[in-house]
């Protein structure tokens, strides 16, 4: 069993078997992270390039740690300090990176479809670290891994995703991933951020927090992107918190064993109350650790597929 593609561009492209292969492989890598020597020689001699056209600390760092734990060399290119500001095109930058000897390119870009474009045009493996409002596949995979680790399996679970679904690539990848593995997804938020047409993705839609959280097994919070403020999506962060912020009282509507997730970085007091974020039900730091294991699995598996 192996992946069919040299790239990981979207969750949509993955079969159920491929998704499960990644999660099982990640379990093996999580073992590695628990040791004194947290490094294996699997990808010795390979080079990973992190090509980030958008600011990112946690995803970039997570990919960097994952690549180093696999013994690849890592080169970080932040485009704000590169030739991109001199007007170089994406493809030219990528070809330059390949000429430097890259085997894997991890790309984040503010335009949807960038990873797909790159994967069709270069020989190296391309891993999507977030493209516009489209997908963020490794985030969804690490969320699946964390849910499986905490609750045993995905099938049959009720999962609520709360917040700015419209602009969220994390939400989209998670909707595809969760429904693929047999979970039921509810989307909760103001109608401006959770438009009715999102039903077509196979999820049900709620505008009321208490109704939406009733009996769910997983509460997945999204970051309210503060740059959306003042654009008419919601009146104020204060009012947003009053209607859609996750408080202890609202958590009590969910299943007593429900877990609380957040992809980070959190806005305490806007989408999530501090006492909830710090409660024992929150698995937010587990998500960070699992992110490394899952990204190791992805880098390991894509580099085994010959172009």
């Amino acid at each position: 069993m192996s992946l069919r593609s040299k790239d990981l561009v979207s969750i949509k492209d993955l079969s159920v078997e491929e998704t499960e292969l990644i999660l099982e492989t990640a379990a093996g890598f999580k073992d590695v992270l628990g040791r004194d020597i947290k490094k294996v020689p699997a990808l010795r001699g390979k080079t990973t390039v992190n090509l980030f056209y958008e600011p990112s600390t946690r995803t970039r760092t997570s990919f960097e740690v994952a690549a180093k734990r696999l013994s690849t060399d890592v080169i970080n290119i932040a485009t704000s300090t590169s030739s991109v500001v001199k007007g170089e095109t994406l493809l030219d930058t990528a070809k330059t990176v390949l000429a430097l000897g890259a085997d894997i390119v991890v790309i984040r870009h503010s335009s949807s479809g960038t990873a797909h474009f790159l994967s069709n045009n270069i020989k190296a493996s391309v891993v999507n670290a977030g493209d516009g409002t489209n997908e963020h596949p490794t985030q969804a995979l690490l969320d699946l891994f964390t849910i499986k680790e905490k609750l045993g399996s995905i099938k049959g679970l009720e999962v609520a995703i709360v917040g700015d679904i419209l602009h969220s690539r994390v939400a989209k990848s998670n909707i595809y991933a969760l429904t693929k593995l047999g979970a039921k997804v509810r989307l909760i938020g103001p109608p401006t951020l959770v438009p009715d047409c999102m039903k077509e993705l196979g999820a049900s839609i709620y505008t009321d927090m208490n109704a939406g959280l009733e009996g769910v097994d997983v509460i997945m919070m999204l970051r309210i992107q503060l740059e959306r403020q003042g654009k008419g999506f919601f009146p104020s962060t204060h009012e947003y918190f009053r209607n859609w912020g996750l408080t202890a009282a609202r958590v009590s509507k969910a299943d007593p064993n429900a877990i609380i997730m957040h992809p980070g970085p959190m806005n305490r007091g806007i989408e999530i109350a501090s006492e909830v974020a710090d409660s024992s039900r929150a698995v937010i730091l587990d998500q960070v650790t699992n992110g490394i294991a899952v990204r190791m699995a992805v880098l390991y598996l894509v580099s085994g597929v010959k172009a």
Partner: protein, 174 residues
């Protein structure tokens, strides 16, 4: 054409003798741990543990070791090997490790296993136990405990089939 080389009884006798040899060589089983290589070696390690308990009366710790990330052919294989779990829930520093595999062939798996173990800690010693030694070594590696030496040709395959309840155990040459 497949040929049965060892049946259930033969395997049990081989495991029994190996258990006695492990005790003899180490003058008892103090500070010994068993580590089975995924997947075939794990079954044999469990059998050895049961046998050693029968003889000496105490439970030895058993771990499982995945060597796929340490293989020397990752760059040339068509597919990445499946990564399985490495579970060694005990301190191996200053312990004597008996590394267990089902078939010893080129010795390359054992080389990988030695590297994998060294990344877990610094054992006092590592000894090697295999159910079948089929020859054709490509590295200077030798087993300390061998269930059965079976001369083979390069194009043959040796398969060890062990079941959970050991009713259909056998070793087959194809």
């Amino acid at each position: 054409m497949s040929k049965e080389l060892l049946d259930k009884k033969d395997i049990e006798r081989a495991v029994t003798r190996m258990a006695h040899e492990i005790i003899e060589k180490n003058k008892g089983i103090d500070s010994i741990c068993l580590v089975g290589i995924q997947r075939g070696g794990v079954h044999i390690a469990n059998r050895l543990q049961a046998k050693l308990k029968e003889i000496e009366g105490s439970d030895l710790p058993v771990g499982t070791l995945d060597i796929s990330l340490y293989r020397d052919d990752l760059n040339v294989r068509k597919e990445q090997p499946l990564v399985r779990r490495t579970v060694v829930p005990f301190e191996i520093a200053d312990k004597k490790i008996v590394l267990v595999d089902d078939v010893l062939f080129t010795g390359r798996s054992i080389r990988a296993a030695l590297d994998a173990i060294m990344d877990l800690g610094r054992p006092a010693a590592i000894q090697l136990a295999v159910l079948v030694d089929r020859g054709h070594r490509e590295l200077p590696i030798k087993a300390d405990f061998v269930g059965k030496n079976i001369p083979t040709s390069m194009n043959e395959n040796v398969t060890v089939e062990l079941t959970e309840d050991s009713t259909d155990d056998r070793v087959v040459l194809e």
